[in-house]
């Protein structure tokens, strides 16, 4: 337990160091996926390979950092590392999530010995594979890009024009951006290192190392005391993916949760068998989803995440399922499954405590990739989308926001206009596809793209085209997502939730993101809010009258 004042001060300085490293990673990034979507993280890890402090940028990166470092150290033990060495790993079958996430670790030397690691991860725009940015047809990992097994390289010898950098450079489609982002990772590791060395200089190595241990204990105790507030028992949670992308579904995700005192076991037995496409989620993704769910529903935001949070949690993920696929399954769209693990765990937790329950949100990561090959190379744009949040007991679900497991910014339309010549966003509007209730779900939204060149790759994966977010306590379900292709020849076609297509100049495509579900009886909703939504054009007169029981005439009179 952190009781001494100095410990509290050192702990907060360590947390601030990770946060600073993460912020600078994002600020220095070149590719939209890292700089706008903030799909990356930075951490300080201890000498025993535990994450001690993590920049909390994006929930899906909770947890994986420690596992990927441990995989590296299994091949290259701590005592064999020298200054200038770095460890790198993107292998989903060695602790990683999908190949796009590259993990890099730099050992921190103080007084000649390693006391920890600066670590960072970033989602890279393109790492090779069958299609630029996103290969929806992949059936095995070999088609998804370059696999970097847990490896040790030296920055002097192998990077900055060295053989490893050249190897990566020649395998990636937009190498300047990718190498730029990897350099941002090295800089982030250096910042974390610098700050930890400064702390050791001020407080002494022993005090800092001891504090790192106690930080893990502290977080563990906070998580355990949160779990203790739940009644012991077994609770079953469920959520499902619409289909496998070829029309066959639903794909069930199950989480059977056992609360025993201050421990929690999440057993995903009964979850669908692994698929022949890219929806499979490696263990690290499921772990992140479980931890995110616990953090969001149970512990509150002020508990800092570190490896201590994992100690009270046991996860059972049967091999050969979409939550623990066997090699060489493809894994690129693992977010779709991770979101459903999050939903299933949240569902189970809400059965353990009704007070914690919220209506379901859209809770889907929609990744849209537009790419165009031209003389001299590629132009690639990744445009990740969210949807509406589910209603809570405190208020309406958030409108048009990224889904809980991720936290991507959108890119300004003016930034697309300035950077890409092969497509354009022609409209972006709120869509009132939320569920009604005492508190309503958040609005979804729509984005429409116009293609300006022939031969543009348009790839997308999404979900909840068929299964609505569920309402709670009398609130109605949220609305579905959809995608429509408006071809230049005048034909219109409803598209599935997961596809890849070649588009030509003049084609337009609109994606509608789903809204969140409502909570409670709409007739009990604050009349002022019903009127506001009516005035804002988010509900019709008829809905106000029939669903919300608003006496429009009386109000007008």
């Amino acid at each position: 337990m952190l009781s001494s004042i100095d410990d509290a001060i050192i702990a907060q300085a360590i947390q601030a160091a990770a946060q600073e490293a993460g912020l600078k990673l994002v600020r220095a990034a070149h590719s939209t996926i890292l700089r706008e979507a903030q799909d990356g993280s930075a951490a300080l890890l201890d000498r025993k390979r535990n994450v001690v402090a993590l920049a909390e940028l994006i929930p899906v990166q909770l947890g994986a950092m420690g596992v990927t470092l441990r995989a590296c150290l299994a091949y290259y033990p701590v005592e064999t590392l020298s200054p200038g060495d770095f460890l790198i790993n993107n292998d989903p079958y060695e602790g990683g999530q999908h190949l796009q996430d590259i993990y890099i670790f730099t050992p921190i030397f103080v007084e000649g010995r390693i006391i920890g690691f600066g670590g960072s991860v970033a989602h890279h725009l393109d790492i090779g594979g069958g299609n630029a940015g996103l290969h929806m047809a992949a059936t095995e990992i070999y088609q998804e890009g370059l696999r970097i097994p847990p490896s040790r390289y030296n920055i002097e010898r192998d990077w900055n024009g060295g053989p490893f950098e050249r190897l990566l450079f020649s395998n990636f489609r937009v190498p300047h951006e990718t190498i730029g982002d990897i350099n941002a990772q090295f800089a982030a590791n250096d910042i974390a290192t610098l700050r930890l060395v400064e702390l050791c200089g001020k407080y002494g190595v022993d005090a800092v190392v001891a504090c790192m241990d106690r930080m893990l204990d502290y977080t563990e105790s906070r998580v355990r005391s949160s779990i203790r507030t739940l009644p012991d028992g077994v609770y079953n949670g469920h959520d499902a993916i619409d289909d496998d992308g070829a029309g066959s579904g639903p794909i069930d995700v199950r989480a059977r949760i056992t609360i025993a005192g201050d421990s929690i076991e999440v057993d995903m037995t009964g979850t669908h068998a692994q698929l022949d496409n890219n929806l499979n989620a490696p263990l690290a993704s499921g772990l992140a989803a479980v931890l995110s769910s616990i953090k969001m529903v149970l512990t509150g935001p002020d508990v800092p995440f570190n490896e201590g949070a994992i100690r009270p949690v046991t996860i059972v993920a049967p091999e050969g399922t979409i939550v623990n696929p066997k090699f060489p399954a493809a894994v690129r769209a693992r977010m779709t499954t991770a979101n459903r693990v999050y939903g299933a765990v949240k569902d189970a937790l809400s059965k353990a405590s009704r007070d914690l329950a919220t209506a379901q949100g859209f809770e889907t990561t929609t990744v849209i990739v537009l790419a165009h090959r031209r003389e001299g190379g590629f132009s690639i744009c990744t445009d990740p989308q969210g949807g509406g949040f589910g209603a809570t007991r405190l208020g309406d679900g958030c409108d048009a926001v990224d889904s809980p497991m991720t936290n991507c910014s959108n890119s300004p339309v003016e930034s697309f206009d300035a950077n890409f010549d092969f497509f354009r966003v022609v409209s972006a509007r709120l869509v009132a596809n939320f569920g009604h209730g005492r508190t309503r779900g958040g609005c979804g939204y729509a984005r429409r793209y116009r293609i300006l060149r022939d031969g543009v790759d348009f790839g997308m994966y999404s979900d909840r085209f068929a299964r609505r977010p569920k309402g709670l306590d009398g609130g109605s379900d949220g609305g579905l997502a959809s995608c429509t292709l408006y071809s230049r020849d005048g034909t219109t076609r409803a598209m599935p939730s997961k596809f890849h297509l070649k588009l030509n100049a003049g084609d337009e495509i609109e994606v509608i993101l789903g809204g969140g579900a409502g909570l409670g009886d709409p007739a009990t909703r604050d009349r002022r809010l019903v009127l506001r939504d009516l005035r804002d054009g988010l509900i019709s007169q008829e809905v106000a009258r029939e669903v919300y029981k608003l006496d429009v005439l009386a109000l007008a009179g």
Binding site: L2, I5, Q12, D190, S221, Q385, A400, S409, N410, E414
Partner: protein, 674 residues
């Protein structure tokens, strides 16, 4: 006579200076009619308004209007397809793990958002020209029916070419001449449509509020015989004549914190201290700002209530640690300080206004650095027993005495301030040891030396009357304006365009100053390029001096940018990585010779070291001897060694053992490590 009046949330501060005359006044603010508080301060300070040549004003009128959403009905108009810009925002959440998260609420409701058919491309060519006839037929009737007072316009890519925005404004004006128009190219000519739209809407919203407020105040001042210059403080650290704020109210959102920084820069500048870190510690929070060679660092945007505002502001980091910050124990058993504050009501336990929770002020009382009968020169009698009761649970949790617990709390709040200072220094590639620490606000000077100790800073400079430095900043600051424009250019091939764009912006600013009746030949200019490696989304500020601009080369610019990038982000790109210019910013400010003194008669006390009454303070785990001095009796040349406390009428300073303080000829207390 120079007079500064700062209307804050709780108190309105006034400072009037003229040679050796100094009047300091604090009255209750009157939030419903803020000008009443300002006039009360003026009416009771004993100065005839006819004598006042220069009246500088800062207020929270614009800020409160936004926070309370009290203002005119605003319509928002944008390009067809994008009416929901203000609601879609940027999609990311600020609290990542909060399921009850809500987006910041725009100041315009959705029913008041409209579209017009038009489109400009990113290169500035107009693809679809705006048709005034359609505006007259569709938009104008809607605006009329809605009873709007203001219309905010933001069309896509208007930062490159405002032609369609100008045509739209013209068409609206023709039919609805009484409507105020806020056009994005005029308010914030920068790319990123959501941020520009938000700035334009907020600007349109606060403008009439500020106009009406200033009109009322000006009329009242006129009635009292005031015939001097009336100016308003801006968030960028400079003033503007009140009449100029008619176009620029959004620039005044954070005048209070900016005035504090400028007051500190001015006052310590007299002692030739030009590299400093200011730290303003009040009741609920602490504001920190870094100043390089007399110029506070600027940032190109800020936000209010979560809504982005693209306007240059002083880069001030605010953290939740002040005298009223509450000390508590979290669920995991860790002692924490803030961000909750007891504020002014109920206030710290020792105030005896009903507060029972332990605060930093209570901790200072328990450790003896504040004396029960001497707080604010005896204005409030502090209750030590109440402070002890408040700290008892913390002490029992830590298994120590109340003094140790109090000392621990002070150490924790100091750590919060240390991290804020690291965010403006080390995190931006600057070594805090190269700077003097300048504390002000009621509580700042009590913590400064210990904060400096943590950062390895050897010099603390405490301004006299440290509690009213913000009001000083109002009267000491110059007139200042910024002009910013986005032009996406390749850095290697644009030297000529850089020089000509800067020249144009300088001309625009000169015209503006000339219109306000200021001579333009004495203006000082600053030039900044906001640049990035191609592909990045965040720009790095790259300042260029007049000389650098005169002999600008592509290679020189590249080197300069790489230096700034490395300083900010710990690395630079390859020597051949393409670099992009995004924004041009020019600042212009007047140069005047003012001599404003904060101590009525510096040296009114004996130069011996004052009247050092003996007492005790609890530091380093034990009670130690400490001398107590009265700030007003500490003459120029007086030297005191720690432990010592300097008690003033607006602030208290602590000089720990191992530090020596000297009152210099400019009345600053120079505190240095032995």
């Amino acid at each position: 006579m120079h007079v500064g009046v700062e209307v804050g949330g709780t108190f309105t501060d006034l400072i009037a200076v003229d040679g050796e005359t100094l009047v300091v006044r604090k009255v209750r603010s009157t939030p419903a009619n803020p000008e009443v508080g300002a006039l009360n301060a003026l009416d009771t300070c004993g100065i005839g308004m006819a004598q006042v040549a220069d009246l500088a004003h800062g207020s929270t009128v614009a800020t409160n209007a936004v926070l309370e959403r009290r203002g005119p009905r605003v319509a928002f108009v944008t390009t067809a397809g994008f009416r929901d810009i203000l609601f879609l925002q940027r999609q990311a959440r600020r609290q990542v793990f909060d399921l009850a998260y809500a987006n910041p609420a725009p100041i315009v409701d959705r029913a008041s958002c409209f579209e017009v058919v038009e489109r400009t491309r990113a290169d500035g060519t107009v693809e679809t020209a705006l048709e005034p006839a359609r505006v007259a037929g569709e938009l104008v009737p809607a605006l009329k029916a809605g009873g709007f007072e203001v219309v905010a316009i933001c069309l896509l890519n208007s930062y490159v070419n405002p032609q369609n925005e100008l045509r739209l404004a013209q068409a609206i004006r023709e039919h609805l001449p009484q409507l105020q128009i806020s056009a994005s190219h005029d308010v914030a000519r920068q790319f990123r449509e959501y941020e520009r739209a938000s700035t334009t809407a907020v600007s349109g919203f606060v403008q009439p509020v500020v106009d009406q407020y200033l009109l009322k105040l000006e009329a009242e001042l006129g009635r009292r015989g005031f015939a001097g210059a009336f100016s308003v403080m801006q968030s960028n650290g400079g003033r503007m004549p009140a009449q100029a704020m008619r176009r620029n109210a959004v620039a005044a959102l954070y005048s209070g914190p900016a005035a504090g920084v400028m007051g500190a820069v001015y006052q310590v500048g007299k002692s030739d201290v030009r590299n400093l870190i200011t730290f303003d510690m009040g009741g609920t929070s602490t504001d920190v700002c870094l100043v390089d060679n007399g110029a506070p660092i600027l940032t190109s945007s800020t936000e209010i209530d979560g809504l982005p505002i693209q306007t240059p502001v002083l880069d001030i980091v605010t953290v939740g640690g002040g005298g009223g910050s509450i000390v508590w124990i979290d669920e995991g058993g860790m002692v924490r300080v803030g961000p909750q504050s007891a504020g002014a009501d109920p206030g710290p336990a020792c105030y005896g206004f009903g507060g029972t929770l332990p605060t930093i002020t209570d901790a200072q009382l328990l450790t003896g650095t504040l004396r029960p009968d001497r707080f604010g020169q005896g204005a409030i009698a502090l209750d030590r027993a109440a402070a002890e009761r408040a700290f008892a649970p913390i002490a029992s949790h830590m298994a120590t005495g109340v003094e140790e617990a109090a000392a621990g709390a002070i150490k924790l709040v100091n750590a919060v301030i240390v991290r804020a200072i690291q965010r403006v220094s080390t995190a931006r590639g600057r070594d805090p040891r190269d700077y003097a620490l300048v504390p002000f606000g009621g509580a700042g000077p009590l913590h400064a030396a210990e904060v400096a100790d943590e950062l390895g800073i050897n010099r603390v400079v405490v301004p006299p009357r440290a509690g009213v430095v913000s009001a000083l900043g109002l009267v000491s600051s110059e007139y200042r304006r910024y002009a910013t424009v986005t032009r996406l250019l390749d850095a290697d091939s644009s030297v000529g365009e850089i020089v000509s764009t800067f020249a144009q912006l300088r001309r625009d600013l000169c015209d503006e100053f000339a219109r306000l009746g200021h001579p333009t030949d004495s203006l000082a200019f600053e030039h900044v390029l906001e640049m990035r490696y191609k592909g990045q989304a965040f720009e790095i500020q790259t300042p260029l001096s007049q000389e650098e601009l005169g002999s600008l080369s592509a290679a020189g610019l590249r080197k300069k940018f790489a230096y700034e990038h490395n300083r900010a982000l710990n690395h630079a790109g390859r020597p051949d990585a393409p670099i992009e210019i995004v924004n041009f910013r020019v600042g212009a400010q007047t140069r005047s010779a003012k001599d404003i003194s904060l101590i009525g008669a510096a040296g009114e006390g004996a130069a011996s070291g004052g009247d050092g009454k003996e007492g005790r303070v609890f530091v380093g785990g034990s009670w130690q001897e400490c001398a107590f001095h009265d700030e007003l009796h500490l003459g120029a040349g007086a030297t005191i060694t720690g432990n010592a406390i300097v008690e003033g009428d607006t602030s208290t300073a602590f000089i720990p053992a191992g530090w020596t303080a000297t009152r210099d000829g400019s009345a600053n207390l120079i505190v240095e490590r032995n």
